[in-house]
């Protein structure tokens, strides 16, 4: 510290005191007893800036200044009053105190800073953090003491070489560090690695190193500096965490597997594999108990160095009942070293056999019962099992238990399913068999033949050899001395009687007792007879074994006689012929079946189609005598037609059978007398020992069945035709038909009736017909119908039907009740006739008659009236009136004649009794001709008639066309005012000729346009009558045009005139 620096605090002391003094002097008038304030501040400033000593300087100067300037006597050092001395003393005391306090405070702050610096220095050491520096150009490394300690070295041991550093590392970590360093230097990035160090004592420790490289201005790395920290604990914690996580993952995985898989073996295997991997142990097994507490290793995962004990059955005599209960309660046995665990010697021996050193056993409890054990073995060394590991094993054991239960459940379900399936299959099979049995009845019959032939063949083939074999192997011998009847039997003889050889002394009586009672009599008799007659004895008879079974034996014997001819000895042999007998019986049975079968059977040699055998039924079917068919060509039974010969039929059957081995067919056969008949046949091919391939044909006469079928088909056809007939009768009937049930609801409705009702079949079904009646009529009809229905009477009415679209049809309805053959009422049948059109015609007719009658009566009334008046003579004095009467009579007579003529014309035209006399004529000529006829009338009315002179040839009845034109022109004249023109024209159009008569008359009201061509449909009747019309003119015109195949119409504007048109078709080539 420089000299002046030391003086600064004192300078501050003096300066601050001076400033305090000046301020106090300046501000004195405003201050009272607080003189010391500024001086105190000066002391604080000084003491803070400098130290205690400079503070004291300020105190002294301040005290002097106060004494000099403020304490009387002023400007003199000294005191007048004791009070001032006291005041100054107080100031002094306070000042010193302040000085002391300030100094102290500043010190304590400095101290804290010092302490912090110290702590920073020792922190790395305390945190076990080593420092390192690597001089890159020289390669020299410097480590702090702590760094060396982190590497397990005593301070000073590290020689500073990079290679020595690497040598300390865990071999696997060396290369990563090289790379990390290189990367950090190249990229100027932070170097941060975690690595393992192998201490000289072999223990491994985790280190985290960080560092950074420094570069010169050329960008070359100069050195790298950093820290190293021990992270063993963190790593350990991480490891534990990882382990815990792994355990949880495994448990999850196994749980999932259990849910997904029902394959218990797979679950077991996965479990043990995973456990072993996770616990890094040598063997993991699952052990399953049987009821006697023996058990089997059902799953195992074992290291390669250790013996595998999978499937080993283990019986631990020490286990017993003592362990069961604790295990059931969840006991876990944990042995870190079996040799130090005080285990029973026998158990120890067992474990030692399996190379076990430490084990961990958890029970697998299923449904409250001890199912087995989950066991982990450490074989290499003792092992301290961790609590997490134990928990882990327990959890897995629980999961195992669930898996086992699920699996068993599944197995149970599977079994049930399988059983049900089997039952179903059996049922199906049974059904199938039944069906098959029915279907294959015929086939079976042929099979009988098959067996027959086969058995015959087999018998013949095997007879010799079998006999020989039996003779050699199963022949019983006996030897009897006579008359002592001393018997010797060989062992077979005993066997042939169902006895154990030599178990009993052979006697004649023993023999007799075994012979079948039914056979004993004749056998004995035959035996005695043959001895007496000196002939060989041979018999086939039955014996009964002690167990009651019956066997056939063939017995032969020969006696030896002395010179006196007396028998002295009899030698015999016995053979068991039960099999042969059985075969013979079956053959006989089959032969009987064949002979007596309802079907005819014949055997035909395949090579030449010759019959080798025909059973009686077959012969009978074809009307041949017994054996007559044998050796005949089979074609004699086949019926020949013009198309097919009998040989062809035979050949066709043969080919079919030989190709497929079997054939079922219907064949037209013929009897001996030439009567054809139909057979159903089943034919199969077999190998016959004598004839080679043989066709066995089973025939069934189906003439009757065929006939019945034909009859049935005929009846069916007749029925079908009848049904079709009646159906078409109903479906096509022009009358509506329907049927009801007893309630009157529709059960059938034919198309015509549907049309009348405007409904479909389905809509009408089940409904009453009354529902289709017009609502206005319905009530009345329904009431009547109900009455009729209840009394089952016939019913008829005319009524209105209303359809869905609102149109109305008139129907004449007739109903009759239907009774069954036993007079039971079954419903109604009804017909409906659509009388809508005829009704309309009827109405039209009535109206027409009414009009005609009016039209006729009117002129008649006029004639009758006028003539009557004249005749009576009342008008004798009134000649003018009389004349008037005569005129009326004449006029009306003419009118009547016209009317009658018109009516007749019209009737003739409409009845088509008029034959059109068609010829080629010129339209213009026709028009001119017509004009001539009415010219006088036109002149009278002062009307001009104009004909457009277009010449067009028409093919028509000229008289009728002229009549039409005259009518139309006449009308035009009548209804046109004077001084107007009526124009006639003709147009040649594409396919027709158009005539037009145009006037300038009063026109026709629009509402009349459509009707004026009707009869008596004048626009104004009285008006027209006055003009001499009959009201039929236009109707006649229309009829004529129509007869020609043309059309007639009018276009008109009231007040302007009308145009009448008609067309005539052109004659088509």
């Amino acid at each position: 510290m420089r000299f002046y620096q030391r003086l600064v605090p004192y300078g501050v002391a003096i300066g601050s005191t001076a400033i305090a003094l000046l301020l106090t002097l300046w501000l004195e008038p405003f201050m009272f007893r607080t003189i010391g304030t500024f001086f105190y501040l000066a002391i604080i400033v000084t003491a803070w800036y400098g130290d205690l000593r400079s503070g004291f300087v300020t105190v002294v100067f301040s005290t002097l200044a106060i004494n000099y300037f403020f304490i009387p006597p002023q400007h003199i050092f000294g005191f007048d009053r004791g009070k001032d001395v006291f005041e100054l003393g107080i100031f002094l005391l306070v000042s010193v105190t302040i000085n002391l306090l300030t100094d102290r405070f500043r010190d304590s702050k400095q101290l804290a800073q010092e302490k912090a610096k110290l702590l920073l220095r020792i922190a790395p050491s305390a945190a076990q953090m080593g420092m390192w520096n690597w001089d890159i150009p020289t390669g020299q490394i410097q480590w702090s003491v702590d760094h060396e300690l982190l590497f397990g070295l005593t301070p000073g041991m590290f020689d500073g070489r990079y290679e020595s550093f690497l040598a300390c590392l865990y071999p696997d970590d060396r290369e990563p560090i090289n790379q990390a360093l290189q990367q950090a230097i190249e990229k100027n990035s932070l170097y941060q690695v975690e690595y393992r160090v192998v201490w000289p004592d072999g223990s491994i420790h985790w280190i985290e190193a960080r560092g950074h490289a420094f570069y010169n201005q050329a960008g070359e790395p100069i050195h790298m500096t950093g820290t190293a920290t021990a992270i063993d604990q963190r790593k350990q914690a991480q490891g534990l965490l990882q382990e815990k996580f792994e355990q949880q993952r495994l448990i999850m995985e196994i749980t999932q597997k259990i849910r997904q898989s029902l394959n218990i073996e797979e679950i077991f295997q996965t479990t043990v594999n995973e456990i072993r991997q996770l616990l890094q142990t040598d063997r993991v097994i699952i052990f399953q108990f049987d009821p006697k507490w023996r058990g089997t290793v059902v799953a195992e995962s074992v290291g390669t160095h250790w013996i595998a004990i999978l499937s080993t059955e283990i019986y631990d005599p020490c286990f017993g009942e003592n362990y069961v209960e604790p295990y059931k309660q969840g006991l876990v046995t944990v042995k870190s070293d079996i040799y130090k665990a005080g285990i029973d010697p026998c158990h120890l021996q067992l474990l030692a056999n399996f190379q076990v050193r430490a084990n961990l056993v958890v029970p697998i409890v299923k449904g409250g019962e001890l199912w087995g054990l989950l066991i982990a073995h450490n074989c290499a060394a003792p092992r301290q099992w961790q609590s997490t590991e134990i928990d882990f094993m327990r959890q897995l054991a629980n999961q195992m238990s669930i898996a086992i239960q699920q699996s068993e459940l599944f197995e149970q379900v599977q079994t049930e399913l399988r059983e049900r399936k089997q039952a179903e299959r059996a049922l199906q099979q049974l059904n199938a068999e039944l069906e098959q049995r029915i279907q294959e009845r015929t086939a079976k019959l042929s099979e009988v033949n098959d067996r027959l032939i086969e058995a015959l063949t087999a018998l013949q083939e095997s007879e010799e050899s079998r006999r020989l074999a039996l003779d050699l192997t199963h022949v019983g011998f006996w030897d009897m001395q006579l008359p002592s009847e001393y018997l010797v039997w060989n062992d077979i003889k005993f066997t042939l009687l169902g006895l154990d050889p030599f178990s009993i002394k052979p006697t004649r009586e023993l023999w007799r007792s075994h012979v079948h009672p039914d056979d004993l009599g004749w056998v004995e008799q035959k035996f005695l007879e043959s001895i007496e007659n000196q002939t060989d004895y041979a018999a086939e008879h039955r014996v009964i074994y002690p167990d009651g079974s019956v066997h056939w034996l063939m017995s032969r014997a020969k006696a030896v006689y002395n010179e006196l001819g007396q028998p002295v000895r009899v030698l015999g042999v016995l053979l068991d012929i039960s099999d042969r007998k059985r075969t013979e019986q079956i053959l006989e049975l089959q032969a009987v079946i064949t002979r007596n079968m309802a079907e005819g059977v014949c055997l035909v040699r395949a090579s030449d189609a010759v019959i080798v055998y025909a059973n009686p039924k077959f012969e009978q079917m074809f009307d041949y005598d017994s054996g007559e068919l044998n050796d005949r060509h089979v074609s004699i039974v086949n019926y020949a037609t013009e198309e097919v010969t009998a040989e062809d039929v035979t050949q066709a059957i043969r080919s079919a059978v030989l190709q497929n081995g079997e054939a079922i067919y219907e064949v037209h056969n013929v009897k001996k007398d030439g009567t054809p008949f139909w057979c159903k046949a089943t034919c199969s091919v077999f190998k016959h020992p004598d004839y080679g391939d043989v066709l066995v044909a089973v025939h069934q006469d189906i003439t009757l069945a065929k006939h019945l079928e034909e009859v049935r088909q005929q009846v069916e056809e007749a029925l079908r035709q009848s049904e079709a007939k009646f159906r078409s009768l109903s479906e096509s009937s022009p009358v509506g038909i329907f049927m009801t049930n007893t309630q009157g609801d529709c059960i059938y409705i034919n198309p015509r009736h549907q049309m009348i009702c405007g409904c479909t079949f389905d809509e009408a079904l089940g409904k009453s017909w009354v529902e289709f009646i017009h609502p206005e009529d319905r009530e009345e009809v329904a009431a009547e119908w109900a009455k009729v229905l209840s009394q089952r009477q016939e019913y008829s009415s005319e009524t209105r039907y209303i359809r869905k679209d609102g149109t109305i049809r008139f129907g004449r309805v007739l109903f009759a009740p239907i009774f069954s053959a036993v007079d039971e009422f079954v419903g109604y049948v009804g017909t409906v006739e659509d009388i809508t059109d005829s009704r309309a015609i009827e109405i039209m007719k009535k109206e027409f008659i009414s009009i005609v009658s009016h039209e006729l009566r009117t002129p008649l009334a006029a004639i009758r009236g006028s003539m009557g008046l004249l005749a009576s003579g009342v008008l004798q004095d009134k000649p003018e009136t009389a004349q008037q009467m005569l005129d009326i009579a004449v006029q009306n007579t003419e009118r009547l004649v016209r009317l009658v003529n018109d009516i007749l014309d019209l009737e003739r035209l409409e009845a088509r009794t008029v034959k059109l006399n068609k010829q080629w004529c010129d339209g213009v000529t026709l028009m001119q001709q017509s004009v001539k006829t009415v010219q006088s009338l036109a002149v009278q009315s002062n009307i001009t008639l104009f004909v457009e002179p277009t010449s067009v040839q028409v093919w028509a009845d000229s008289d009728l066309i002229v009549q039409t034109l005259v009518n139309l022109i006449g009308n035009a004249i009548k209804f046109s005012p004077p001084e107007t023109i009526v124009t006639l024209s003709i147009q040649d159009q594409t396919d027709q000729i158009l005539f037009q008569i145009q006037d300038q008359g009063r026109g026709i009201p629009a509402d009349k346009i459509d009707t004026i061509f009707g009869r008596f449909q004048q626009v104004d009747a009285s008006d027209s009558r006055q003009k001499g019309g009959t009201g039929l003119g236009l109707a006649i015109c229309k009829s004529i045009v129509k007869q020609h195949g043309g059309k007639i119409w009018v276009e008109s504007v009231v007040g302007e005139g009308s145009s009448f048109y008609f067309t005539l078709p052109k004659l088509l080539d």
Binding site: T858, P859, S1022
Partner: protein
């Protein structure tokens, strides 16, 4: 029995000849005064104006027919008491129940007997015309 000489009859008939006949017949033989109308419409006007003692009415007429004419007449309180006799070719209207239902007093068929027409009319109307 009141005097018939002063009777005035309205004839509604579209047929001119028949109109004339009826008119002559009634005027000559009965001495009645006859008014004629050629249509229903004209007839109503004349009935209103002339107030005849009776009306002889044709039924089938173009325009307003006889039935409509009668309905109009009956609907008019001033005219509804005038008796009406149909002169018609319609056979069914001759039946008493039929014309009575329509509101007519009588009906005479066409063709009619001109010499006795007035008597027929009088008998329907209860008039003495001898």
């Amino acid at each position: 029995m009141e005097s018939v000489t002063t009777k005035r009859i309205l004839i509604v008939e579209d047929e001119r000849n028949l109109r004339t006949l009826v008119q002559i017949s009634l005027e000559v033989l009965a001495g009645w005064k006859v008014i004629v109308a050629a249509s229903g419409e004209e007839g109503l006007l004349l009935a209103e104006r002339e107030r005849p003692d009776a009306i002889i009415l044709d039924v089938m007429m173009p325009g307003m027919d006889g039935i409509t004419f009668l309905q109009e007449l009956l609907a008019n309180p001033d005219l509804q008491n005038i008796p009406v006799v149909f002169l018609t070719a319609k056979a069914e209207l001759i039946e008493p129940e039929c014309f009575a239902k329509l509101g007519a007093t009588g009906a005479i068929a066409k063709p009619f007997e001109p010499l006795t027409l007035h008597k027929q009319v009088a008998s329907f109307l209860g008039w003495d015309c001898e």
